[in-house]
């Protein structure tokens, strides 16, 4: 479980995060949604410690990340896995070496065990056949899956995904979403996902936080989305005609 309390962050006097508080439970997929530029990536970078917030607390199962000593923070980092918007695989290493990298650095396993563990993770994302390829030789969707395998190699407690399915076709997006969702349940991880993909919202939105211009505008589950009367949320989610029609049908189902 991760709790954040009144996170503030500004860049050169421009306030990007204006005091965001929320709780992200384990075993479910927590979504952060919001328009482009609303501050989702900045919020996630603050949570994982790539950016330092000016104010606020970030509690990892009660452990305060912001005021933590450098050494403790480093140890906590080993419990985190992150999937970046651009996959961020190391180009100089093969797929297998990428997944093995965190194991090489931090596990005490023997070489054979590390290979076995990496292959297990690659198998989990159905990419065992691509283990000898290099990141430049595989498709974007496959890169994302390798990134997932690398992120789960050390059995993290916390998984962060920044727009895991940006730039992917709807079908591949579903595969990635399902993968993240099932891994989260399987290992009881605390998973936070940034997205503006409505399929993800409807599919794996166990809990959704809607960020609007740097503050939390709304919070709820994917079912609450349909009955919400929050105007900004409705304008954001049901922006297209198609989705407005879907909403009418869903609301009819719920009421009927």
């Amino acid at each position: 479980m991760i709790q954040i309390e009144s996170i503030h962050k500004s860049f050169e006097g421009k306030e990007v995060l204006k005091g965001i508080s929320s709780t992200f439970e384990n075993g479910i997929t927590n979504l952060i949604i919001g328009q482009s530029g609303s501050g989702k990536t900045v919020l996630m970078k603050c949570i994982v410690g790539l950016l330092l917030p000016e104010e606020g607390h970030i509690l990892y199962d009660g452990r305060d990340f912001v005021s933590m000593k450098k050494k403790e923070r480093k140890l906590l980092r080993r419990e985190m896995g992150m999937i970046f918007q651009s996959a961020a695989l190391f180009d100089s290493m093969s797929v297998l070496e990428n997944v093995m990298f965190p194991l090489d650095m931090f596990s005490g396993y023997t070489y054979r065990d590390r290979v076995r563990r990496a292959q297990f993770c690659l198998d989990r994302v159905n990419l065992i056949d691509a283990q000898d390829k290099y990141p430049g030789e595989i498709s974007g969707g496959m890169q994302k899956r390798v990134a997932i395998a690398r992120a789960i190699a050390l059995n993290p407690k916390y998984l962060f995904c920044d727009e895991p399915n940006s730039g992917l076709d709807p079908k591949t997006s579903l595969v990635i979403d399902d993968l993240i969702h099932s891994i989260t349940e399987e290992y009881n991880m605390t998973t936070i996902i940034n997205t503006h993909d409505m399929n993800s919202v409807m599919g794996i939105g166990d809990k959704i936080s809607f960020i609007f211009e740097g503050h939390k505008e709304w919070e709820g589950t994917k079912n609450d989305v349909f009955t919400s009367t929050n105007e900004r949320l409705n304008n954001f989610i049901f922006a297209s005609d198609l989705l407005r029609k879907v909403k009418d049908v869903e609301v009819g189902n719920i009421e009927g």
Binding site: L50, K74, R77, R78, M82, F84, S86, A88, P102, M105
Partner: protein, 249 residues
């Protein structure tokens, strides 16, 4: 304005170096990176070093023989001058300037690309000290390899000088041998090597700094690689001035 900016840059450079010089997380991965960088930065530069030094050695010999030496000068002049130019300046300073172009841009663009594609962030998230993991092997590898490159450069320059005698009859090889051995000071070889160690450190650390601190996209990566070459060249020339004073006083 310019001064505050320079002081700022120098401060961030020092802070980065503070992160770089730490005990590596895993010695095994450090040595793996170290050997990889030795091959990429050092061994892959041998070709260009030999090529350029060979031609410069030959050209210096021809220039001096044809344009400077006159019949009433002693016969050692050409060999002696060629040797001293190679030892004192070319094989250390000028060669490092050339390497600043080749190796510096390589380092800066590699690290810059890793930065903008979030590979460095990915390392940080895992709890790896990315500056230490990426930069220390580069600095160590270039500093290890540079004495070899200097030595190769000196040798190639001398072979270049002989080539003008053997193939073009510019100079009599016996005169050249006599000149090359005339009043030889071993210390000058060490001077070249000592200077080159400093230059190697400058090239690797300054280029890493510009690459590692890129913000933005491909345009910034390009700029950082230019900055890396320009600034390491300037620093090499400047420190050459100081080191030459100190070492040959």
């Amino acid at each position: 304005m310019f001064i505050t900016k320079s002081i700022n840059t120098f401060g961030s450079y020092l802070m980065l170096m503070g992160k770089v010089f730490a005990r590596p997380e895993r010695m095994r991965s450090f040595f793996k990176q170290y050997t990889k960088e030795m091959s990429q930065l050092g061994v892959d530069s041998i070709g260009i070093v030999l090529l350029i030094s060979f031609f410069i050695g030959a050209v210096i010999c021809i220039q001096i023989k044809l344009n400077i030496q006159t019949p009433w000068m002693p016969r050692f002049v050409t060999g002696y001058t060629t040797r001293e130019i190679m030892l004192l300046e070319f094989s250390s300073s000028i060669m490092c300037l050339i390497l600043a172009g080749k190796v510096g841009s390589n380092i800066a663009s590699e690290l810059g690309t890793m930065r903008v594609t979030q590979q460095i962030d990915a390392l940080e998230i895992m709890g790896v000290n990315s500056a230490n993991f990426l930069i220390l092997p580069k600095i160590a590898a270039l500093v290890t390899m540079i004495p070899f490159l200097v030595t190769f450069s000196i040798a190639a320059g001398i072979i270049g000088a002989y080539a003008t005698g053997w193939f073009a009859n510019v100079i009599n090889p016996e005169d050249l041998t006599y000149g090359l051995q005339y009043s030889f000071t071993e210390w000058f070889v060490w001077c070249g090597i000592i200077k080159s160690l400093f230059f190697a450190f400058i090239i690797a650390s300054v280029s890493s700094f510009y690459g590692y601190t890129v913000e933005g996209g491909s345009i910034e990566v390009g700029k950082s690689s230019t900055n890396a070459v320009v600034h390491s060249s300037i620093l090499i020339l400047f420190s050459d001035l100081i080191l030459t004073q100190l070492l040959t006083e």
